[in-house]
C-alpha cells in the first residue's frame, strides 16, 4: 500500500515539475514547426535570431517587451526565425545562452546589463555565434559581440524638463504648489543613476529650486514595492513621478491614481502598455530598443553586422525620446512643449551636455 502510494506521489511530483517548466517550453513548439516548413519550402539558409530576457521576463511592459517587439517585426518583415528564452533568475542566463548557441541561433540578443558578464564569458566559447547585449558595455568589445548603449540621460533630461515645468504649473488639479517631483529607480546601479542624473539636470534647468526626491526599490519586478515608493513620494509632496524601475513602475502608476499625482513612464510608451493608465500618464521616456534590435537583425540578414563594436544611440540618433502626451495633449501648455523642443535642439546641437552621473 505504502509503496504504491509513494509511487503515485513520485509520478505526481514529476508531473508537477513538467507543468512548472511548461512556460519555458511553450515557446519552442511554433519554432520547431516553422523549422520544418521552411525546410520544405525553401533551401535558403535563414537567420535564426533568439532573445534571452533578464529576470523581469516578457510582459514587463517595458524593456524586455520592447526587445521582443523588434523580434516580432523581424519575424514578419524579414522572415527571420525567432525564439525567446526567459530567465527566471540570474542563474538562468548562462544555460539559456548556451542552449541557444548550441541550437545554432545567431545573433543572440541578451537584454540588460546584468547579462554582460555572462555574454563576455559565453562569447569566447562560441566564436561563430554573434551576440548583441542591450545596455551592455564592453571594453574592448569581443569580435563577435555588439554592445548596444542608449543615452538614457538625454531622454530623461527631457522628462525632467516636463516634470520641472509641470510641478510649477496648474494645468491639472493634481499639481500642487510644493515644487517637489519624484523619481523611482529599480536597482541602485550606475545605469539607473544615469536616468536619475538626466532627470534631475533637466528639471533643474527649467526650475532651479525644484526638489527631486529619488527612491530605489532594489528590484525590477516588485510591483507592491513600486506602489509603496509612489505613496511615500506623494506623501512627501511629489506631484509628478518618473519611474525607471521595470515592472515596479506599474505599482507607482496605481499609487498616482489612488493619491492623485502624474506619472512619467519609461522605455516604452507606457500609455499603450500599462492598461487604464491614461488619467495619470503625462508622457514616457522612450528607449527605441525595438527599432535598434530590428536594425541589427536586418544587418545580420544583409551581411553587414557591425560585430566587435559598441553602438550608442542618443537623442540625435533617435535612440531615445519623449512619447506623446496623449490624454494630456490639450492640457499641457504650449510653453512646456516649446521648452522640450528647445532642450531637445540644444542637446542635439551640443549646446547642452547632459551629465551621466549625479
Amino acid at each position: 500500500m505504502n509503496k504504491k502510494l509513494s509511487k503515485i506521489l513520485m509520478v505526481l511530483l514529476a508531473l508537477t515539475l513538467v507543468v512548472a517548466f511548461v512556460p519555458a517550453c511553450a515557446e519552442e513548439e511554433p519554432v520547431e514547426e516553422e523549422e520544418t516548413t521552411t525546410e520544405e519550402t525553401t533551401e535558403e539558409v535563414t537567420v535564426k535570431a533568439a532573445m534571452i530576457t533578464d529576470t523581469a521576463g516578457l510582459g514587463d511592459k517595458s524593456f524586455n517587451d520592447l526587445t521582443w517587439k523588434g523580434f516580432e517585426q523581424a519575424e514578419s518583415e524579414l522572415g527571420v526565425e525567432v525564439k525567446v528564452l526567459e530567465s527566471a533568475t540570474i542563474n538562468d542566463y548562462e544555460p539559456n545562452l548556451q542552449e541557444l548557441a548550441l541550437a545554432g541561433y545567431s545573433p543572440l540578443v541578451a537584454t540588460g546589463f546584468l547579462l554582460t558578464d555572462t555574454v563576455s564569458k559565453i562569447c569566447v566559447e562560441y566564436p561563430d555565434t554573434m551576440f548583441i547585449n542591450i545596455d551592455g558595455f564592453f571594453d574592448p568589445v569581443p569580435e563577435n559581440v555588439v554592445g548596444v548603449g542608449f543615452k538614457e540621460n538625454e531622454g530623461s533630461y527631457l522628462a525632467g524638463v516636463v516634470a520641472g515645468l509641470a510641478t510649477k504649473d496648474t494645468f491639472d488639479s493634481r499639481l500642487n504648489d510644493k515644487n517637489v517631483i519624484g523619481f523611482v529607480g529599480g536597482m541602485d546601479v550606475p545605469l539607473i543613476r544615469k536616468f536619475q542624473a538626466g532627470f534631475e539636470a533637466g528639471a533643474k534647468s527649467v526650475n532651479p529650486d525644484v526638489q527631486v526626491v529619488a527612491l530605489y526599490t532594489g528590484s525590477w519586478d516588485d510591483v507592491a514595492k513600486g506602489k509603496e515608493l509612489g505613496l511615500s513620494l506623494i506623501d512627501q509632496g511629489a506631484d509628478v513621478i518618473y519611474a525607471a524601475a521595470g515592472g515596479c513602475g506599474e505599482g507607482t502608476v496605481r499609487a498616482c491614481q489612488e493619491k492623485g499625482a502624474l506619472f512619467i513612464g519609461v522605455d516604452a510608451d507606457q500609455y499603450n502598455t500599462i492598461a487604464n493608465s491614461g488619467d495619470v500618464m503625462l508622457t514616457s521616456m522612450m528607449k527605441n530598443i525595438d527599432v535598434v534590435v530590428f536594425d541589427l537583425i536586418q544587418a545580420m540578414v544583409d551581411g553587414d553586422f557591425p560585430a566587435g563594436t559598441m553602438q550608442v544611440f542618443g537623442l540625435k540618433e533617435g535612440g531615445v525620446g519623449l512619447a506623446p502626451f496623449h490624454d494630456f495633449e490639450s492640457k499641457v501648455p504650449q510653453s512646456i512643449k516649446d521648452a522640450v523642443d528647445k532642450a531637445s535642439d540644444d542637446i542635439i546641437s551640443g549646446a547642452v551636455t547632459v551629465p551621466e552621473a549625479l
Binding site: L5, S6, L9, L12, L13, T16, L17, V19, A20, F21, V22, P23, A26, G57, L58, G59, D60, K61, D65, E86, A88, D188, V213, A214, L215, Y216, G218, S219, D221, D222, V223, A224, K225, K227, E228, L229, L231, S232, D235, Q236, G247, E250, G251, R254, A275, N276
Partner: protein, 317 residues
C-alpha cells in the same frame, strides 16, 4: 529631518507591508504547530493571488476574488497535506514542488487565459474601510491626522490580519482545538493515545495555513496593487516563515515580527532621500530590513525552539 522621517505615513506603510507577511506567517505558525513544515507559503500566496485576480477580472467583484483566493489556497495546500500527512513524504520536498508548480502554473494560465505573460489587466481593488478627512488645525488636528493616518486609513484585510492574529492566538491557548494542535507538534503519540486522529488534526492545520496563504495573496493583488504579476510575491512567503520563527511559533508573535519587518522596510524608504545627508552607501538603506532581522534573531529573542516533532511524519504504530 526627523519630522520628515517620522510621519503617519511611515507607520501606515509599516502596517500595509506587514499584512501579507503576517497572514502567511500565522498560516505557517498553525501548520508548524501541528508538526508539518510549510515552506510552500510562497507558492500558496501566488496561487491565491492569481485565482483571486482571475475571479475579479471575470466577475468584477473584489470580495468574490478574496473568497476564491482563499479557496485556491486551501486547494493547493491539500496537495501538501496529502503528501506530508498521508504519504509521509519529506515535507520540504513537497513544499518546494508546490512553489515551483505555483510559479509555472500561474505563468502558464496567464498565457492560456489572457494570451500574454507578465501582468494582468488592472482590477477594481478593495477600498479603505473608513474615509475620514482632515479635522481642524492646532494640536487636536495634528493628533487626529496621526490617528487617522496610522490607524484609520487602511483596507479591510489589514484590519482582518490583526483580528486573525488575536483570534488564532486566543484559540491556540484557550480552546480544545488549540491544545490538540500544540500537542500534535510536540507529541503526536500522546494525541493518538487519547483517541484523537493525528492525520485529521494535521489536515485541518495545513488547510488553514492554505486559507491564510491565499488571503495573503489576495491582500497583495486585490487590495494593494490591483493586478497580478508573475512571481510578484518576491520571496514574501519565505520572509513570512522567518517571521513565524522569530515570533516563536505564536500567532501574535508572528504578527509582531511581520510588523517589525514591515516597519524596517518602511523606514528604509523614508531614509532613502537622506542619502546625501547621512553619508553612507545607498546599499545600506536597502540592507536595513535584513540587518534588523539578523540583529533581532541573534541578539534580542535568543534561542528559538520550535515544536519538537515538526517535519516528522507520524506513523501510527
Amino acid at each position: 529631518m526627523l519630522s520628515d522621517i517620522i510621519t503617519p505615513d511611515l507607520f501606515a506603510a509599516a502596517l500595509r507591508m506587514a499584512t501579507p507577511l503576517a497572514l502567511a506567517a500565522i498560516g505557517g505558525t498553525i501548520c508548524e504547530r501541528s508538526g508539518v513544515v510549510n515552506i510552500a507559503l510562497e507558492g500558496i500566496m501566488l496561487i491565491g493571488a492569481f485565482f483571486g485576480t482571475a475571479t475579479v477580472l471575470a466577475t468584477g467583484s473584489p470580495w468574490l476574488g478574496v473568497l476564491v483566493a482563499v479557496l485556491a489556497g486551501v486547494a493547493i495546500s491539500a496537495v501538501h497535506a496529502v503528501a506530508s500527512v498521508n504519504l509521509r513524504t519529506d515535507q520540504v520536498v513537497s513544499g518546494t514542488a508546490i512553489n515551483l508548480l505555483a510559479l509555472g502554473l500561474t505563468g502558464f494560465l496567464m498565457e492560456l487565459w489572457y494570451g500574454h505573460p507578465g501582468t494582468t489587466q488592472p482590477i477594481p481593488t478593495l477600498q479603505p474601510v473608513f474615509g475620514f478627512g482632515a479635522m481642524g488645525d492646532g494640536f487636536l488636528g495634528e493628533v487626529w491626522r496621526w490617528i487617522n493616518g496610522v490607524f484609520l486609513s487602511h483596507t479591510p484585510l489589514v484590519y482582518a490580519a490583526i483580528f486573525i492574529a488575536i483570534g488564532t492566538h486566543w484559540a491556540m491557548y484557550h480552546t480544545k482545538w488549540g491544545l490538540r494542535l500544540r500537542a500534535l507538534g510536540e507529541h503526536p503519540r500522546a494525541v493518538d493515545t487519547a483517541g484523537v486522529s493525528v492525520a485529521r488534526g494535521r489536515w485541518v492545520a495545513v488547510l488553514m495555513s492554505g486559507a491564510l496563504g491565499g488571503l495573503a495573496g489576495a491582500n497583495l493583488s486585490i487590495e494593494q496593487v490591483g493586478v497580478f504579476q508573475e512571481g510578484f510575491t518576491n520571496g514574501r512567503g519565505f520572509i513570512a516563515l522567518a517571521a513565524n520563527i522569530f515570533g516563536r511559533w505564536t500567532p501574535i508573535g508572528s504578527y509582531l515580527a511581520s510588523l517589525l519587518f514591515g516597519f524596517a522596510d518602511a523606514l528604509q524608504i523614508k531614509l532613502q532621500p537622506f542619502r546625501d545627508v547621512i553619508d553612507l552607501p545607498p546599499e545600506f538603506f536597502l540592507m536595513v530590513p535584513y540587518v534588523v532581522t539578523v540583529v533581532v534573531l541573534a541578539g534580542v529573542i535568543g534561542r528559538a525552539v520550535g515544536p519538537a516533532q515538526v517535519g516528522v511524519p507520524y506513523e501510527k504504530g
